[in-house]
Structures are given as structure tokens and as C-alpha cells.
């Protein structure tokens, strides 16, 4: 009998192929020089190589925006979708094919503005995937409009006198959703930490939300400038179950032990603070995953016919 394991049966444990970082590279990125996305792409390629993910069983889904060009720059399966809607597509992929490794790549406008509804619900579904939110605090591709994470007062083409509102806090918002299972933050200017964070996200079974603070040299180069220059403005959340990036210990002296199991503390730490906090705010492997709850055995054509004929009986004349 055919079961859904037929997908899983293409088990690659005995796969003798191996892949280098170059094997995962796709088209040449067209991001601006100095854009933080380059470093994030490199960290992702490193993850793919380290985990030796078969390219054909790896899917990157994205929305629209600078960061959403991501899948084009990789040689895996990819789906460059529409603005704000990476998560529904990615949910459909994983629901249908739990055997695939699914990544969703979004920008801050994508995730927190036009796609905010999907974001909240994707957290609740807790479908196993890595969701990377590349947050540069601005709409870049459409040339400098205020995003939900633009700091108050920061001018843009749509709000030239400065952003009117307090920015939305993506970490607090995610941590506030029931069934959240993995919430982390990292920053593009420390590649080792980016790598370690997305590696932890990948290993987590559930919806892993990673906000990556990302520099935009065009429109928000001031946003993280001070933090880039002054490591004291960064606070690392550390724990044996947290992100492990020992090479950073010497540079970033502000270290705070935070057990990712502690949701209350995670929420507290996610609140605005005079330092940028990086690390895992919360992780819980025990949360229910939607694709598991909804998993169905695949039925043969004949099984379906037999069962449908039974159903017809109820309505027979």
C-alpha cells in the first residue's frame, strides 16, 4: 500500500552525493554593494552545506522586496511569490510535503505590514519551517518608504518629516502569539551569529521565526551604524541551549544568560532596551505542529473509489 512515506522513502541517508557551497549558489545577487542581504545569503549557503541538504528537497519561498530575491540566488527549489504572501505558500508546501526542508524569506514590509495576518497565523500553525525576516526598517525595492519597523522620526519618501509612529516590535508580537515555538534575533554584521542562529532555527522542529537586523546602505545606513561600530550597544543572550558563537565572545562583552524555555523572561527581554539583544528569546520543542496534526495517509485510487461508492450509497435513489 502506498503511504505518504513514499515521499520519505526517497531517504537520502544513504545518499553518496555531497554538496559544496558553490553547488547551492544560484544567480549572481543583484543587491546593492554593502547590503546586509549578501552576508545572510552566505550564512544560508553555509548552513545548506553544513547540513548537506539535498538541493532538490530544499525549498525557499519568498514574498516581494529586496530580500525576496533570495531564492533566485540559490540552486534549490524556490518560489518567489507575491508581496506579503510567502508564508501561505510555504505552509501549503510543507502541509503537502513534510519531507521537504522549507524556508520562507521575507522583508519587514512583507512580514509585518502587508503579510501581517499570515505572520500571526503562521506562528500559531507552527508548521516546521525556518522563517527569516530580513529587517532593514524600510521599503528598499520601491525606493524608500516607511515600514512598520522604521524608527519613529526616521524620514522617508512617504513620511519626509520622519516616521509618525512608534515602530512595531516583531519579537514581542511573535512572542505574544499562542503556540509560538521559536523566536530569535540576529544581525547581518556578525555572520557567525547569523549562521549559528539560523542553524538553531533549522534544527528546531516547528515554525522558527528569526528576525535578522539588516543594513540598507541606500536608505537606512544610520539605523545600525552605532551598534556596528560599538559592540557595547549589543547584548548577547547566551545559554547552553541558546545560540553558540564562541568566536564572538571576545568582541561582545555584554552577555546575559537567558534560558530559551523561559517565555516570560523572553517577552520581557524583547521589549525596547538601550542595547540590541541578539539570541534566542524563546524555544519550545513541545508545541504542536499543524502539519503533524493534519497528517493523512495517502490512499490509492481504488481505496478512494471504494470509499466514495460507500458514500454514494447514502444518497442513492
Amino acid at each position: 500500500m502506498e503511504t505518504s512515506c513514499s515521499f520519505l522513502s526517497c531517504d537520502h541517508d544513504d545518499d553518496e552525493r555531497s554538496w559544496t557551497m558553490e553547488d547551492y549558489a544560484g544567480a549572481i545577487p543583484r543587491w546593492c554593494p554593502g547590503c546586509g542581504d549578501h552576508a545572510i545569503l552566505a550564512a544560508v549557503e553555509r548552513l545548506l552545506e553544513t547540513e548537506q541538504l539535498p538541493p532538490e528537497r530544499t525549498v525557499f519561498v519568498s514574498g516581494i522586496g529586496c530580500s525576496s530575491r533570495f531564492p533566485h540566488y540559490l540552486t534549490t527549489y524556490g518560489f518567489h511569490g507575491i508581496h506579503g504572501r510567502a508564508l501561505p505558500i510555504a505552509t501549503g508546501v510543507k502541509l503537502r510535503r513534510p519531507d521537504l526542508h522549507v524556508f520562507a524569506v521575507m522583508g519587514d514590509g512583507d512580514c509585518c505590514s502587508i503579510g501581517a495576518g499570515h505572520w500571526i497565523h503562521a506562528v500559531r500553525y507552527n508548521v516546521d519551517m525556518v522563517a527569516l525576516m530580513l529587517d532593514n526598517g524600510i521599503y528598499g525595492l520601491t525606493k524608500n518608504q516607511t515600514s512598520p519597523t522604521t524608527p519613529q522620526g526616521h524620514p522617508s519618501n512617504t513620511q519626509p518629516k520622519g516616521s509618525h509612529l512608534m515602530p512595531l516590535n516583531p519579537l514581542s508580537a511573535t512572542l505574544g502569539v499562542s503556540n509560538a515555538s521559536f523566536v530569535a534575533q540576529t544581525a547581518d554584521w556578525m555572520p557567525a551569529h547569523v549562521y549559528a542562529t539560523i542553524a538553531a532555527a533549522f534544527r528546531h522542529r516547528g515554525f522558527s521565526f528569526v528576525r535578522i537586523l539588516q543594513r540598507c546602505p541606500q536608505y537606512t545606513d544610520d539605523l545600525f551604524q552605532e551598534a556596528v561600530r560599538n559592540p557595547n550597544l549589543v547584548e548577547m543572550l547566551v545559554h547552553p541551549d541558546g545560540v553558540d558563537a564562541p568566536e564572538l565572545e571576545k568582541i561582545f562583552k555584554n552577555r546575559r544568560v537567558h534560558d530559551p524555555k523561559d517565555l516570560d523572561m523572553g517577552r520581557h527581554l524583547a521589549e525596547p532596551f538601550d542595547r540590541i539583544r541578539l539570541g534566542i528569546f524563546f524555544r519550545d520543542e513541545s508545541r504542536q505542529r499543524y502539519e503533524e496534526l493534519r497528517h493523512q495517509r495517502i490512499h490509492t485510487a481504488q481505496e478512494r473509489i471504494d470509499r466514495l461508492n460507500e458514500e454514494f450509497e447514502k444518497y442513492a435513489v
Binding site: 516581494i64 527549489y77 508564508l87 501549503g92 521537504l100 493523512q296 478512494r304 442513492a316
Partner: protein, 636 residues
């Protein structure tokens, strides 16, 4: 039982002697049951329709639905119920007017009268408790209504429904519908065991005692009718030659999806489409299927596209406002050539419009709703049987042509019940399991056959096939195109597929003579009513024929040639169009029905239209008037 003996107005009551009741023997009869919302007239009507169909009568049911769950009691607009037209032969539409009406209050009855829903000599059975109600206002309303109704040729029979129900239940409001069902069962001589089964089935999720109490009420109604009514109606049954099943349109869509081997339905609740998912929710897991209730209409489309992209074709089901929200995603599926089936159960629009009521106004939105050129297949079943088979076809076309297929049904088909020949299921209807074999070297993600635009898609898991789909304009490698010819070529390849699909279609048949004065063109659920009107018109000597379209995009071939054989062509639609003679309306600025626009654009024929948007199915009588008004050189 003296107090509950029927009072007969207008017409003398036939004496109830030893010979028994007068039997009215007719080839067809139309029943309406109307109540306040929540009193269960719909359930009563559904069971009556189902059982009639199961016994072998032709049947067509239409729900009379208020938009609110609990509209004010005893209000005309709040009337809720069911019309059931049964016949010896198959019934193809809901007819003109009801021959027998059961009303739970006189206001619902009055509303139906004002909507001309009653045949001029209809028999009316109406709850009589309002005549003697404690509330002066209610008594006055009863008297006023009866004065109006009494002037008609109806035969009105007040029935002590509540009084009777109180003999077996404390809460007659929740049992009257079963009493009425029992009355109808006696009047029409329905198989009482089938009725009992249907009641049990209906209450299967509740305690057994509930079904028992309802059966008791039904039997009470049966006995009361037997003891008190002086007429019965016989619609002779001719057993159909093939095995039949009885479904409503939304059940047929759901079963069609199962028969097509689809196993993921992503949806968001919207009337009148939701019951597809209710029914699927009950059975789908038995087939390995999932109903995913998404966070919104947009996400439902996205999940379906993601699932289709990663394997077998998935589908989403919606209605007008939901279709509007899914627009961008439908464009994405078209652009990336991810197969997708969209079931749209149309209701009245624009905006929230008429949530529970029928219209055919999503046609042009379905065809042209996307920005840019977004060719897709659009098809529309005319019957409940076609609802089933068209989903099977839609899945295959979506897969073969790597395109979006939209199936447009409507609120009329969704809730109507019809018997039809039981489908002989074929394993070839079902999607094959995904093929995860390696992609041969050199095959491109859009390996377009330059003549047809057709290409094979490959899915995640297939080694060697890695590529990134994109909604941006792209070449056959799915690389974003930056040169002018890339977009031109992509558009051509996607469009060409429709032309190829059209070559597989035959010209539609003409109902009636293949030439004449007027050709009426319709689509969707109006087929039966149009053909009945055409029959009547031809009986009056008018040279009228009709043609019914199932495929709206690409249009079925040969239309221009068929049209050329008639002096005039006109559509009949449940859509809005301006009427000549209305203020400001001229031949130049007149806005036409959606199908009329479409046919004019495609054929350059001066297609006229007769359209109405009453929020209910068209009646043959109305269409006949439309035909007469449109006859070339005729009455106008």
C-alpha cells in the same frame, strides 16, 4: 378534535366521505414551506425533496434564505424555507409558482404572495394560532393579511400546528417543521420509512431521543393530515432506468474533488460556498484529504498554490468577495503555471451584495479579474450532475495545461437538490501520485513547446529540476527577464494554451431548431428555466432556440457561425443590465449583461440581453416574457 378541524375558505370543502380524499393526479407539483428563520422549514423541505427524489420523482429544490441567522420573527424579509418542484419526469428548474404552500405564519405567507411565488389557485396550509393570539397587534396583522390573501383564488386551510405539537412536545417552535413534514408525507404519499431514515440521518449527531421525538412529531402530522385533509396529490413515479443519487450542488462539488483524486482544499468561510467544506470536513480524511481553513481568503489561495506546486493539484472554494481577494494569487498561479482549481459559488454582488442569493456576476471577474493578461480556463456547470463531473475535468485540465481552472457555480446550484445518474467512478479521473524521478538533463522549468505553449512541470523532490518560480516576467529557465521580447514570449506561451484547449472542444448544441428568429444564450444554473421558456415560446409559434455554454474561457468554438443562423441573438442572465427606456439609457450608453459583453467582443454580433437580478433563480414565465419582448420585429 373539533377545534382543530380545518376551516376552508373560498372553495367548498370536498366532503370527506367513505370514498376518502380527492386525489389530485398531476405530472408535476411545486411545494413551498416557509417559516421564520430557525423554525426549520428548510430542514423539512430538504428532507421532503430528498425523499421525493429517492422515491424516483424528478426534483429540483431551491432554498429561500434570509441573510441573517435570526431575523425578526413574523417578518416578510425574514421568511426562510424551501421550494421543491417534483415531477414524474426529471425537473430542470424551480418553475414559476407554488401549487401548495405551508406557512408557519401569515407574514411569511404574505411575503411569498407579494413576490408572486404562489400559483393563482394554490392550496395554502397556514398555522392558525396567530388568529387567536394574545397580542392584539398580531391578531390584527393576521386579519389584515387574511383580507389580502382572501381576495385571491387560493384555497386557505388554517392548521393548528402548534396546538397539535403541544400534545407531544413542550417546545413546538422546534418541532413544527416535523409536523409539517408529516403532513406533506401524507399529502404526497411519501415513503414513511425513508422519511424516518432521513430524520435519523439529520439528527445523527444528537442524542437518539432527539430523532425519536422528531419522528413522533412527523407521525403526528401524518395522522392529523390523514384525519383532517380532504385532498391528496399524486405525482406518479416512473423509476429511472439507471441508478440515481441525490445531492446538492456543494456536495457534488466536494464529491467531484474526491473523485478527481484531489486531497487538499484550502478555504475561508464564505456563504454560499462554505458548505462544500462542511461536507468535505466530514468525509475528506477518509480519503487522505485535508480541509485547511486558512486565516483569510488570500491565504487559502496561497496554501492551495503552495500545495499544488509541491504535488497534486489542490483547490480552493469561495464566492465573489473571496474571489476578489484571491485575485493576486490567481495571477501568480497563472504566471508561474502552477495548476490550481478555484471553485466559485457565485452570489449577488458587488461588495457583500446578496450573500445567500443567486447571481451570475462573477463571470467577467473570473475571466479578466487579474491585472495583466492572465489567461485561464473558466467553466460553469448547468446542473448538479455537472457540478460533480466538472470538478473532475477541471483538475485534469489544470494539470495538463499547467493553468488555473475556475469552476463557477451559484447559490442556486449550491443548495438545490437534484437526482442524477450515479457516476461510474473511474480511477483515471484521479491525479497520479507525484512523480519524483530525476529531471532529464537540459529540461527547462518552462520547456514550452513553441507551438502550443505546453510544458511539463516538475516539483520539489525531483533531482536536477531545481529552479525558482517567480511572478516576475521570466524566460523558459524561469529567469527574470530584462529584455523586451521575454515578456512578449511568456504572454504568448500562456495564452496559446487556451487556443490549444479550445481545439479539443466541439461547438455547443442548439436546443430547438438550428436556425430561427431568436437564439437565447445562457450559462450556469439557468439552463432548465431557459429551455422550459423556449419550449413554451415554441408552442406559441415563436421561432426561438437556445444555446447553453459550459466553457466560458476559452469560449466554445463555432459560436459566430451558429449565431449567423438566427436573426437575433440575446443572452438571458441573472445579471444587471440597463434597460432601454429607462432614464438616460440609450443604445450607446446601455450597459449589458456580462455574457452579452463577452459574446459581442468575441463574435462582433450585436448580442442583446434580457437580465434580472431578483436574488432568486429566474422563472420560466419571466424568461418567456423576456423572449417575447426581444423577438426581432416582435412585441418589444
Amino acid at each position: 378534535m373539533s377545534s382543530s378541524s380545518p376551516v376552508v375558505t373560498k372553495k367548498a370543502r370536498a366532503s370527506k366521505d367513505a370514498a376518502g380524499p380527492v386525489v389530485i393526479r398531476v405530472p408535476e407539483h411545486t411545494v413551498e414551506i416557509v417559516s421564520d428563520s430557525g423554525e426549520g422549514a428548510q430542514k423539512c423541505g430538504q428532507i421532503f425533496g430528498q425523499v421525493s427524489a429517492k422515491m424516483g420523482n424528478g426534483a429540483w429544490t431551491v432554498e429561500i434564505i434570509p441573510a441573517e441567522i435570526q431575523p425578526p420573527a413574523r417578518s416578510g424579509p425574514g421568511a426562510s424555507g424551501n421550494r421543491i418542484r417534483i415531477g414524474t419526469q426529471p425537473v430542470t428548474n424551480w418553475g414559476d409558482a407554488a401549487n401548495l404552500v405551508v406557512a408557519f405564519n401569515e407574514q411569511a405567507l404574505l411575503a411569498r404572495h407579494e413576490l408572486e411565488a404562489l400559483h393563482e389557485d394554490a392550496i395554502v396550509l397556514v398555522e392558525n394560532r396567530w388568529a387567536t393570539h394574545d397580542d392584539d397587534d398580531i391578531r390584527r396583522e393576521w386579519t389584515t393579511a387574511m383580507e389580502v390573501l382572501g381576495k385571491q383564488d387560493y384555497r386557505i386551510i388554517p392548521v393548528p400546528m402548534e396546538e397539535q405539537c403541544l400534545t407531544v412536545t413542550d417546545n413546538p417552535r422546534r418541532g413544527k417543521n416535523m409536523f409539517v413534514l408529516g403532513m406533506l408525507a401524507w399529502i404526497y404519499d411519501r415513503d414513511i420509512e425513508l422519511i424516518r431514515d432521513a430524520i435519523r440521518q439529520s439528527f445523527r449527531k444528537k442524542a437518539e431521543a432527539v430523532a425519536r421525538a422528531n419522528i413522533e412529531l412527523m407521525e403526528l402530522g401524518y395522522r392529523w393530515a390523514e384525519a383532517n385533509l380532504d385532498f391528496r396529490v399524486e405525482v406518479p413515479i416512473e423509476k429511472p432506468p439507471t441508478p440515481m443519487i441525490v445531492l446538492n450542488g456543494n456536495q457534488a462539488l466536494a464529491m467531484g474533488a474526491v473523485a478527481a483524486g484531489m486531497d487538499l482544499c484550502a478555504m475561508y468561510p464564505i456563504t454560499p460556498a462554505t458548505s462544500v467544506s462542511h461536507y468535505l470536513g466530514e468525509i475528506f480524511e477518509d480519503f487522505g484529504g485535508i480541509v485547511h481553513q486558512a486565516e483569510d481568503e488570500i491565504a487559502a489561495a496561497g496554501v492551495a498554490i503552495g500545495a499544488s506546486y509541491a504535488g497534486k493539484v489542490a483547490f480552493t472554494v469561495t464566492s465573489g468577495p473571496g474571489l476578489a481577494l484571491k485575485t493576486e494569487f490567481i495571477g501568480l498561479a497563472t504566471m508561474t503555471e502552477v495548476p490550481l482549481v478555484v471553485l466559485d459559488v457565485q452570489r449577488g454582488g458587488p461588495s457583500t451584495g446578496l450573500p445567500t442569493k443567486v447571481e451570475q456576476s462573477d463571470l467577467l471577474a473570473a475571466l479578466y479579474g487579474q491585472p495583466g493578461d492572465a489567461p485561464k480556463v473558466v467553466m460553469a456547470p448547468a446542473t448538479i450532475e455537472e457540478c460533480f463531473h466538472m470538478v473532475v475535468t477541471a483538475r485534469r485540465i489544470a494539470e495538463l495545461f499547467r493553468c488555473v481552472v475556475m469552476v463557477l457555480t451559484d447559490a442556486n446550484l449550491a443548495t438545490g437538490v437534484q437526482p442524477f445518474p450515479r457516476p461510474q467512478l473511474d480511477p483515471r479521473w484521479q491525479a497520479a501520485p507525484p512523480d519524483l524521478r530525476p529531471v532529464p538533463e537540459g529540461v527547462k522549468p518552462y520547456d514550452w513547446d513553441p507551438a502550443s505553449g505546453l510544458s511539463r512541470r516538475f516539483i520539489p523532490g525531483q533531482p536536477g529540476g531545481m529552479h525558482t518560480l517567480t511572478g516576475l516576467s521570466h524566460d523558459e529557465y524561469s529567469h527574470v527577464g530584462y529584455s523586451p521580447d521575454v515578456h512578449e514570449r511568456g504572454c504568448a506561451m500562456r495564452s496559446r494554451k487556451l487556443a490549444v484547449f479550445q481545439t479539443t472542444l466541439k461547438p455547443p448544441g442548439v436546443y430547438g431548431d438550428t436556425k430561427g428568429d431568436l437564439l437565447v444564450v445562457g450559462w450556469g444554473s439557468t439552463k432548465g428555466a431557459i429551455e422550459e421558456a423556449v419550449d413554451r415560446a415554441r408552442a406559441r409559434g415563436l421561432r426561438v432556440s437556445s444555446l447553453h455554454l459550459r466553457i466560458l474561457s476559452p469560449l466554445e468554438p463555432g459560436l459566430k457561425e451558429i449565431f449567423s443562423r438566427f436573426r437575433k441573438v440575446a443572452t438571458v442572465e441573472i445579471n444587471y443590465s440597463d434597460r432601454l427606456g429607462d432614464p438616460y439609457i440609450t443604445r450607446e450608453n446601455r450597459r449589458l449583461g456580462q455574457l452579452a459583453w463577452l459574446l459581442r467582443a468575441h463574435t462582433l454580433v450585436d448580442v442583446d440581453c434580457w437580465t434580472r437580478v431578483p436574488g432568486q433563480p429566474l422563472r420560466p414565465k419571466g424568461i418567456l416574457e423576456g423572449i417575447e419582448s426581444m423577438m426581432p420585429g416582435g412585441h418589444a
